[in-house]
Symmetry: C2
Subunit: 376 residues, 2 copies
């Protein structure tokens, strides 16, 4: 993997860059749609490319490991072959899911024992095992196995957890560097900064992660319930320490405003389930503000959902039609809203990129944060 | 509306034709995807055109009347404007739904009183009212208000019901012919043959319908539980009586084999929820036979769903991937399977048309009926 910094904003820490993988190029800053179980929910692969203009998507190791399972993924020749997405993929480590989703789990130094949410069967994730699993899934960018601490989190627990995450990282790196990709293309491992909302821990963790000298670095454990200002403060501290010539990935963030603010802090990569999950609940992010499409006020508004985005779904379908589909619980409602919200997120980071290149990012960002946060 | 007969098969009663409406041309025999509530479930309008190659779709008067409601449809400028489907549309009369879906309904000579399945509110459908509703929805082809008798049905009830359906038809025609379309294009009214599975009633009804001299005619009350052979017998008797120079529409039929057999009996138009409903349950109709995609045997079959159909979903996605999505209850499973099944139905009637034109329909049909009925 190769990362080239292109332009650095003069008033903020925002920057543009190009990330080159064996499955193609990613222009940063970028948003990565979440494709949990080998599918971005309610969206066709063709739509991801042509309408949403996704450059890279996520897969969730926990879900893929349970279903379809590693045997199927390996027989298929990896996740790209299995779901037909031939552009870059990033997989998380499964840590977040086994800590937050799986009901009964036991953590110790070795790893985590958990029960499948599907059939209750017992499984163990270790740092080494999770590297092997992600080798079999075959994503271009894979993540270290970490503990994502909840919010709030006591200082003592946050410190111990961070230290274990660092020891786990050493084991991940050892395993990853002593193995090879299974399908003939390269993979790269991103370590993850933890430390909850404690400045000294975040600094210590960022320094430890930076010292590993990997090709890219991630910031975890944020957007888990803490106030936005706290998230920005932690992110700023961490991006100051993480090397400037490597891509920075802020995991699980966030609202359109969160993303713009964190681009200004020097973050290059984002992912979040919000655009798709909220779409399925009738909440639309648009270039004019936030819409609850269930609201009576849209029932006879026959204007397009958001023509500024320029894709099929956002231009072709009207607000009144989407409202009808949503209140009627039609599947097409989830389809249209999911495409729209993702296309909006990709449009937003694309606009940010253009304004960084043009040199007027700071002014544009201030206006845009207000606009995209307005409730219409 | 204009119907031109093109070719008549020499061994069967199959024929090809062209139906011209103000929203475009329909080549018969044709299958019409069902778009109950202004949406063909799980399918984008663009996919209906480009991948499924639908030439005409259905809307359900009962559902559209309740939601979005006539005020919204009229403000939009009719259903075509509301859902963005600019090719022909046919609406049923709502009769089938108020008799079969609505829990508590009362029939008398005037019409039917029923309660909404959505909010329990009380409504009345009369022949005149249903004409007015379909004028407001604005479909190209609209249907007379009839009683669709269940199976089995006692002779006495079937006769009385048929006679009332005929009196209702007279009222429908009076109302329809004394009103005009609201949106500047033409509409045409198809009457419906009833008579349950009784030969004398079917003959009497077919004669009454034929005598009205409308631009097209429909056969109702079949595919409601009677044996297939009985359906074919009734259809054959009725098509013998209905004028050959008018299109014949067999309502609610059926399996791929049913459709091929009834094309051979001289039917030109079909609709059925089976391809979309069964798709959502993981049942695929393919050019090689019927697939239950949940079956373990497909879990590592990475071949395309059905490349013979030639559209995106059937060619791009593998059986193993679709199986994974189906068992994982992912929305994309319903999307892929719905597109595939509809594309297959349109492919099948398109093939039938080609073979009628080529003069080898009878031989092809015998082979195809066996093939499409095979359980893979």
């Amino acid at each position: 993997m190769k990362f080239t910094l292109e332009k650095k904003d003069s008033l903020t820490n925002a920057r543009t860059g190009t990330l080159t993988t064996d499955h193609g190029v990613i222009q940063t800053p970028i948003f990565m749609p979440v494709g949990t179980a080998a599918t971005v929910k309610a969206v066709h692969q063709r739509e991801l490319k042509e309408d949403i203009k996704a450059q890279i998507i996520l897969g969730n190791t926990y879900h893929l490991y349970l279903r379809p399972g590693l045997d199927i993924l390996e027989k298929a020749g990896g996740l790209h072959q299995f779901n037909g997405w031939d552009r870059p993929i990033l997989t998380d480590s499964g840590g977040y899911q086994v800590f937050s989703l799986a009901g009964t789990r036991k953590i110790n130094e070795e790893g985590v024992t958990f029960k499948s949410h599907i059939d209750g069967s017992k499984h163990v994730f270790t740092p080494e095992g999770v590297m092997d699993i992600q080798r079999t899934i075959g994503a271009d960018i894979i993540m270290a196995f970490d503990e994502c601490t909840p919010y709030p989190c006591e200082y003592g627990y946050a410190r111990k957890s961070m230290e274990m995450t660092h020891r786990w990282l050493t084991r991940c790196i050892q395993r990853f560097d002593s193995t090879e990709g299974k399908y003939g293309y390269g993979q790269t491992l991103f370590p993850i900064v933890q430390g909850s909302v404690y400045k000294d821990l975040r600094k210590q963790s960022a320094q430890f992660i930076a010292d590993q000298g990997r090709e890219g670095n991630a910031i975890g454990g944020l957007s888990v319930g803490e106030p936005a200002e706290m998230m920005y403060e932690m992110t700023e501290m961490v991006t100051d320490i993480l090397p400037a010539d490597k891509p920075r990935y802020l995991m699980g963030v966030g609202t359109p405003a969160n993303i713009l603010e964190c681009i200004a802090l020097g973050v290059d990569m984002f992912d979040c389930v919000m655009p798709t999950r909220n779409a399925r609940n009738g909440m639309l992010f648009t270039s004019e503000g936030i819409i609850n499409i269930r609201n009576e006020k849209w029932k006879d508004d026959f204007s397009p959902i958001d023509p500024a985005i320029g894709n099929y779904a956002s231009t072709f379908y009207s607000k009144a039609y989407l409202r009808h589909l949503t209140v009627s619980k039609e599947i097409l409602a989830a389809q249209i809203a999911s495409i729209h919200n993702l296309a909006f997120y990709l449009w937003l980071v694309g606009q940010a990129r253009e304004h960084i290149q043009a040199g007027d990012f700071a002014v544009w960002k201030e206006q845009m944060v207000k606009k995209v946060s307005t409730r219409l």
